[in-house]
Symmetry: C2
């Protein structure tokens, strides 16, 4: 994104960030391989990927908060707990979520880790697992096992491009990004890939994210940086307010750049993770089901970040706001009403609403004369909604979402499982 350099500069000028090619395998010490193993019907469609570190790497992971969790989530959580944040690889399949598959599903997820471990010569616990696709369907484990062997044989430092394609389900385009982070103590690289485009057919789709860096980061610090960067990126996007049984976000640090991250260098690592994660997360929104516009909802002057986030999320998930944006209608009333039912406490007479920077509501009253200017902004692909709660608290948050189109209904309704 255009503002990544500015954001990084804004944090005290510690790090200079620049985009580079290579995606998830851009950082040194990582390789990836992907194949079509036969889960997706089309022989041309990649459906299995292995992302591997050359040597044991620091690892951190965040998983879905849905009470119903898929087998790969359960197994990955166990593995990363047992190794205390060390991993050699993550194996991913698309086309089948291995969710709601009972005890057999757990056996299959473990088998995926074991096969990968055998191919790489590491312990099964050093392999994490992710799946995305149809739920309630048993994995064709024989095909997956063959696919793991073939993908491991294809592992290459330039394999990020094909891996980003292999994890797609109904995503309209692959999502990958990488940046170099230059700091006083040297330069390191952060890369990543992601998939997800709203909950999708035939049952649901999943948000999966994979981040890599060649900085040297202790597991606990990596986890802290991942939590912080995800809060304003992967956890700040919503397509339809749904959350899946398989959502997972992984981060791996190989240390191969020789740049060690301690508390002093920590902000530079966070900036790098933020830069890559934001690009991937906004890419997920841009590729949302039926999406024609990306909407950034910023809520400012709240008493807490949580309060700002709660208001922004209510506005971003409002079907009325999303349909209004789709129709390029500067409907401040729907924004005010969504803020009002968000649960946040504010004085409507101190609330302001701007669309594309144009003031539409202030002092409890509309500025109808500005509607045409705001409507013009809404014709574009990138929409900004800015709300100030006027509490004097000064805290803010942003949530990204997309518009709601008839195409969303078509994708999700006019298909039979």
């Amino acid at each position: 994104m255009a503002d990544v350099r500015a954001v990084a500069g804004g944090r005290g000028g510690r790090a200079d960030i620049a985009p580079v090619e290579g995606g998830v395998t851009a950082p040194r010490g990582f390789s990836a391989g992907a194949v079509h193993c036969g889960i997706k019907p089309s022989p041309a469609a990649l459906d299995l990927a292995v992302l591997a570190a050359d040597a044991p790497a620091s690892a951190a992971a965040l998983f879905t908060t849905n009470l119903v969790q898929a087998a790969p989530v359960t197994v990955s959580r166990q593995h990363i707990d047992r190794t205390r944040g060390v991993a050699r690889a993550v194996v991913v399949n698309s086309g089948c979520a291995n969710a709601c598959t009972g005890a057999q599903g757990t056996v299959h997820a473990k088998q995926m880790a074991t096969e990968t471990a055998v191919a790489l010569g590491c312990a099964p616990e050093e392999v994490l697992v992710a799946s995305t696709g149809v739920i309630g369907v048993t994995l064709r484990i024989d095909r997956v096992v063959n696919g793991i062997r073939a993908a491991a044989a294809r592992l290459a430092p330039g394999g990020g491009v094909e891996a980003a394609r292999a994890i797609m389900t109904t995503d309209p385009f692959p999502k990958e990004h990488a940046v170099t982070v230059s700091t006083p103590r040297g330069r390191f690289t952060v890369g990543g890939m992601a998939k997800g485009s709203g909950m999708i057919e035939p049952n649901m789709a999943t948000m999966l994210g994979f981040l890599t860096t060649d900085a040297e980061v202790p597991p606990a610090l990596l986890r802290r940086a991942l939590l912080l960067s995800a809060r304003d990126t992967f956890n700040a996007i919503t397509v339809d307010g749904e959350c899946s049984t398989n959502d997972s976000l992984f981060a791996f640090a190989s240390g191969k750049s020789g740049v060690a991250i301690d508390e002093d260098a920590y902000p530079a690592l966070v900036d790098g993770l933020l830069a890559v994660s934001r690009e991937l997360a906004v890419g997920i929104v841009r590729g949302g089901e039926g999406a024609t516009k990306v909407i950034a909802v910023t809520v400012a002057d709240a008493r807490s970040v949580d309060e700002a986030r709660q208001v922004a999320r209510t506005i971003a998930n409002s079907p009325l706001v999303k349909t209004a944006v789709h129709g390029a209608d500067p409907n401040w009333g729907r924004i005010v009403a969504a803020a009002g039912r968000s649960g946040a406490a504010f004085d409507v007479n101190r609330l302001t609403v701007r669309v594309g920077g144009t003031l539409l509501f202030e002092d409890g009253l509309p500025h109808d004369e500005s509607a045409p200017l705001a409507a013009k902004h809404l014709e574009g692909k990138n929409v900004r909604i800015d709300v100030s709660l006027g509490t004097g608290g000064g805290l803010s948050a942003v949530i990204w979402t997309c518009d709601l189109s008839a195409e969303y209904v078509r994708i999700n309704g006019e298909y039979r499982t």
Copy 2:
């Protein structure tokens, strides 16, 4: 609804309930009048109604929980507080919500009450006010005042039919209902009318409900009965999860039947209010924007009614569940995932999901062989989704909603303010 008599019978057989004609003016002691005063553009469209009691009546009201509240809500709340639950009339206009209209809006809402009071010969505080329609637009108060005088001159015991039409905005049909309640101590009547079809163009629509009875009910008891009956009816429906600045529900008791409601007769009053409110509330869902089906989501075997309601509401508001129902897709996975993210705690291996009575998910695994039968049920106009959480708590709740169609997007998106 077909099951009203059964529901009443189920509460110990105290009351026998039967539908009657007449809507909100079916109970003795009430009259209504409606006119076109000039807020709606079409001269044929009624846009103002007065519902009046022949003498001061007990009154109760519930208002929107949205932090942003329209002027008529503020004024009605003040009036009913001052009289401690006594009212002669409620005046309603459609076409303009008188919301986000600043101090001028409050002046106008008070003026509506005062004009009505003058016409009826009562105190302004004995008149309640409701508005629905465009927000952020100032009322044409001169037209409204003339309309109030004309409507008051038309007051008639059979005026309920035209009043139910005058409160409509984009509602596809008027919603009115009445029942007689026969008890050991005599028979009384409950009537009602409502409007609302989701938050609608050009800004939002409102849920307004008006209930009348000729039972004799002290204000405090009327309020308690209204709260109880609204919980499982007006507060158990959702079209798009939105809540308006103007939502209001009123109840009036004239006492003209001579049947006095005390604690013993209280269940019969609740049954009568429930019967009318359920018919009106389900009518609002049936008339929801773009709705083609009514969906009853029942969640059973929860540890609390609140928990059951929370799960039912999450499922009912899920765009994925609503689009799946629209497409007649028995997508148990979306139902399980929505339950999982609802915040309720349950064991997915004890969860069961039924669609149209057909078991689709049990013991953590799908019953795919039953999908065709469930799909057949989903072809119909009335859809039942039954979820049991299997907590052993035994408590349940139902939420009514409608499917999500491309027409909803069209109505809400392809229109410019």
